[in-house]
Each structure stands twice: as structure tokens, then as C-alpha cells.
């Protein structure tokens, strides 16, 4: 069985359609348009039941979670296989401690369960599997050849995003009076906190004597965090559809300073996306 499986070869049936992230970024339309006569500034805003489109927004988000769970399973599974057991420093043939593989095996078990839960939740919400496009940037972050960077990017950045998303959905389920959604999200949220903690612990242990590698890993995390902020979709602003779940991130081992940095990264991502949209629009209107 080959190592470092490319994203293009992931198995999907005909129900699934992949959309490259650039297709979204190159879209000249803006969900946060400027105030115009007769049309106030309006964006998607926070996911609350008061939004007329809230049920559909929740369905779309839930489908994104489902796709994320599949890719998280694929990523953790690859990490079990891609690296040899040893005490390597990241140079040459990548090696990891056996206990790290055990953690990844446990994560596979969790992610498989999350796939089942997410599929059933999607059905509960009236969504067909494959109804929305799939983005594969999650799995792409799980292809880093350095296990420390991979775990930092996936378990701290990506699973950190999962904490924010699950908490948002859990709160939505609670306010909307949907006990199934609230319960399932709460259950999965608990696992995500554990996954992030694994990433934090392994980052600390594997780089205890290699600060340069630790810095590279944290820089990779910053890149992934920015990408996963999705142009400010996840952020700490009042109108961010997905808010930073600070309390749960704290439980997962994030320091206050890291969360402030993440909030700043999200603001940057939002500003950059808005600038990009403006440029796209100018080009289209040419």
C-alpha cells in the first residue's frame, strides 16, 4: 500500500462533486455587500434561528461537517500508515512514536463514528448525501510529509475549527429546540476537544528539543488557520457565522494568546477576501 495518498485519488462515488477552493475565492459576488440606496449592508451573519434561511444554512454547514469527518478519517488513517515507528527528528524517513499511531487509531475510531452520526444528522435535517459541493482542503492539510506539521495543521488548526463549528451547531440546536442536533453536536464536540489536545500534546513532546521545528509547525498551523477561517466565516466578530469557542479551545490546550492570534488571523482573512472580491468584481465589470 502506497504512502502519502494524493487528494485526487480519494474514493468518492458519483454523488460527490469537488469544488476547488479557488473557485470560491474567484467568485466576484460578495455576501457582504456595501450599503447601497435601498439596500442596507447585509451578510450571512450569525447562525441563529431568527435568520429566515437558518435551516438551510445549518443543512449546508452540516453537510460540510460530514465531508470534513470523512476526510478527517482518511487523514488520521494515513497518519497511522505513512510514518515508520521510531524517534526520528523529521529529517530523512519520517518516524513517529508508536503511541502517536495509537492516538491516530483512536481518532479514526472517533471519526468513523462521527461520519455515521453526521450522515444520520443530515438525513434528520432533510439533506441528501452529496447535495452540496465538497472542498478537500481538510485532507490536503493532512498530506504534510512532516508528522509534526501534519498533526499541528490537522489536530490543532482543523480540529480546532471543528470545535468552533460544533459549538455553533450545538447552540443552534439548543435555541431552535432541536434535541437531536444539540445532543449529537455536544457528543462530537467532546471528541474534538480530545483530538485538539492530542495535537497540542504531540507538538510539545516531539519538538521539546527542536524549537525550529516547533516554529515551523506553528507557522504551518497559522497558514491552515487562515485558510480555515474561510474569509472570516469563522471568527470572533459579532456577525461571524461561526464564532471562536474560547472555553472549549481552552480545555483543548489553547493559550489565551493563541486565541487572540487566531482572532486576528480571521480578521485578516476576512479583509483579504473582501479585497479579493472587490478586485474580482472590478475585473468582471471591467
Amino acid at each position: 500500500m502506497r504512502k502519502s495518498f494524493p487528494v485526487e485519488d480519494l474514493a468518492r462515488d458519483e454523488r460527490f462533486v469537488r469544488v476547488p477552493l479557488m473557485a470560491r475565492i474567484d467568485d466576484p459576488r460578495s455576501a457582504r455587500r456595501e450599503a447601497r440606496p435601498g439596500k442596507g449592508r447585509r451578510g450571512p451573519g450569525r447562525l441563529t434561528p431568527g435568520r429566515p434561511d437558518a435551516p438551510d444554512a445549518a443543512r449546508s454547514l452540516m453537510h460540510g461537517i460530514f465531508m470534513g469527518e470523512i476526510q478527517a478519517l482518511e487523514g488520521a488513517g494515513r497518519t497511522c500508515w505513512d510514518f515508520e515507528v521510531g524517534q526520528g527528528s523529521g529529517e530523512g524517513v519520517p518516524e513517529v512514536p508508536f503511541e502517536l499511531k495509537l492516538d491516530m487509531a483512536r481518532q479514526c475510531w472517533d471519526e468513523a463514528r462521527h461520519c455515521e452520526i453526521s450522515a444520520k444528522l443530515s438525513e434528520h435535517m432533510g439533506t441528501e448525501i452529496g447535495e452540496f459541493a465538497e472542498n478537500t482542503f481538510l485532507y490536503e492539510a493532512a498530506c504534510n510529509p512532516d508528522p509534526v506539521l501534519r498533526l499541528t495543521g490537522v489536530n490543532r488548526a482543523l480540529e480546532g475549527l471543528a470545535i468552533d463549528v460544533f459549538n455553533t451547531m450545538r447552540e443552534f440546536g439548543e435555541v431552535a429546540g432541536d434535541p437531536v442536533l444539540e445532543f449529537c453536536e455536544d457528543w462530537m464536540l467532546a471528541d474534538e476537544v480530545t483530538h485538539v489536545k492530542m495535537g497540542s500534546d504531540w507538538l510539545r513532546r516531539l519538538t521539546a528539543d527542536d524549537k525550529e521545528r516547533q516554529q515551523r509547525a506553528l507557522e504551518f498551523q497559522r497558514v491552515v488557520d487562515k485558510l480555515f477561517s474561510l474569509g472570516g466565516f469563522r471568527g470572533d466578530e459579532e456577525d461571524s457565522p461561526v464564532r471562536l469557542a474560547r472555553r472549549f479551545r481552552e480545555l483543548a490546550g489553547f493559550e489565551d494568546e493563541e486565541m487572540e492570534t487566531l482572532a486576528e488571523v480571521s480578521r485578516e482573512a476576512r479583509q483579504e477576501l473582501e479585497a479579493r472580491i472587490e478586485a474580482n468584481r472590478t475585473a468582471v465589470e471591467g
Binding site: V17, V19, A23, R24, D27, P28, R29, S30, A31, R33, R42, P44, P49, G50, P52, D53, A54, P55, D56, R59, S60, E123, H124, M125, G126, T127, E128, G130, E131, F132, A133, A176, G177, D178, P179, V180, R281, V284, E285
Partner: protein, 184 residues
């Protein structure tokens, strides 16, 4: 039949105004609007959001953000099936509003969400029986979000989905009945 689509040429999305016009003409005939009804479809292509409103009934003016007609799997592409769901629902609401026997509902922007969603269920149920592909499970979830995740709400949903010839008073009464079953 006078159906016009604005803009006539799209620049930010890959929609074809003629395709939308053909679809609306077919829907107008199927839902039972008068053959000479003037219908204007205004698409705001500057936003990917998905709001859709019935802005006027004579002429029938449908205002939609481009996301309402977009294929969820193919950004900026028209989804003819999803578009028929949205446009058909609005046209059925227009037919209801033009019918004096239906009653006199408030303007769209003043409709309470539960009443608005109950009306949508009634419209999409009829659209489904006209042979258009709809998403009953999605509509049930929307209805539950506004009326509670209860057996009573599900029973009212089933009634509305299967109903014909309802009045505005019937719709609001059904919606209120479902909400009355919510736990205190």
C-alpha cells in the same frame, strides 16, 4: 404570456436569461396563473445569498438573489431543478394572493416566520404534485424549526403538504395549532 428576466445578460454568474424565462413560462402555465399575466424576474447577481421574495402580484414581480437559483454543487451555475422549486413556490404564492377567496395575508416582509414557512409548505406540496422535483424532508426540517420538533408539528406539516384550496386563515390556524403543542 409576458415573462421578462432582468438582467437580460448575466456577468457575475453563468445564468442564461432565456433558460430562466422558459422555465418561468412553463411554471406559470402549470401553477394556473392567467396566460396573459405579466411576470418579471429580477435577479441580483452581485450576491451569492439566496433570498427570494414576491415583490408584487400585478404584475408578478419575483426578486431573487443569485444564490436562490444556484447549483449548490457548481458555484455560479444555474440549477434548473432548484430554480423550479423556488420560482414555482413564489408563483403559487402569487396565485394565492391574486385569489380573493384566499384572503388577505400581510406583505411578505411582515409575515411572521412560522406563517411564512407554513405557506411555503403548502406551495411546495402543490408544486410536488404538479410533477416538479422537491425536497419534502428539507421542507419538514424547515417547518420543524419554526413549529417545534414534535409529533403535532409533523402532523400539521403532513396536512399542509397534502392540502389544496386552503385560505390564509386555514394556513395561519394550522401554523398556530402546531406551535401550540410546543412545550412551555
Amino acid at each position: 404570456m409576458a415573462v421578462s428576466v432582468r438582467p437580460e445578460r448575466f456577468t457575475m454568474v453563468h445564468f442564461d436569461a432565456d433558460e430562466i424565462r422558459d422555465l418561468v413560462e412553463r411554471l406559470v402555465a402549470d401553477v394556473g396563473l392567467p396566460a396573459d399575466a405579466a411576470v418579471i424576474v429580477e435577479v441580483d447577481e452581485t450576491t451569492p445569498l439566496g433570498r427570494s421574495v414576491l415583490a408584487s402580484v400585478d404584475p408578478v414581480v419575483l426578486q431573487l438573489e443569485s444564490g436562490a437559483l444556484e447549483d449548490p454543487k457548481r458555484p455560479r451555475q444555474l440549477d434548473p431543478v432548484g430554480a423550479a422549486d423556488v420560482l414555482g413556490r413564489l408563483l403559487l404564492a402569487a396565485r394565492d394572493r391574486r385569489d380573493p377567496a384566499f384572503g388577505d395575508p400581510p406583505p411578505d416582509e411582515e409575515l411572521p416566520l412560522p406563517h411564512s414557512v407554513a405557506w411555503q409548505v403548502y406551495c411546495v406540496g402543490r408544486l410536488s404534485r404538479l410533477g416538479y422535483r422537491t425536497q419534502p424532508a428539507r421542507r419538514r426540517y424547515q417547518f420543524r424549526n419554526r413549529h417545534g420538533f414534535t409529533d403535532a408539528a409533523d402532523a400539521v406539516f403532513d396536512e399542509l403538504w397534502a392540502a389544496e384550496g386552503l385560505t390564509w386563515a386555514d394556513l395561519t390556524a394550522a401554523s398556530d395549532r402546531a406551535r401550540a403543542a410546543l412545550p412551555a
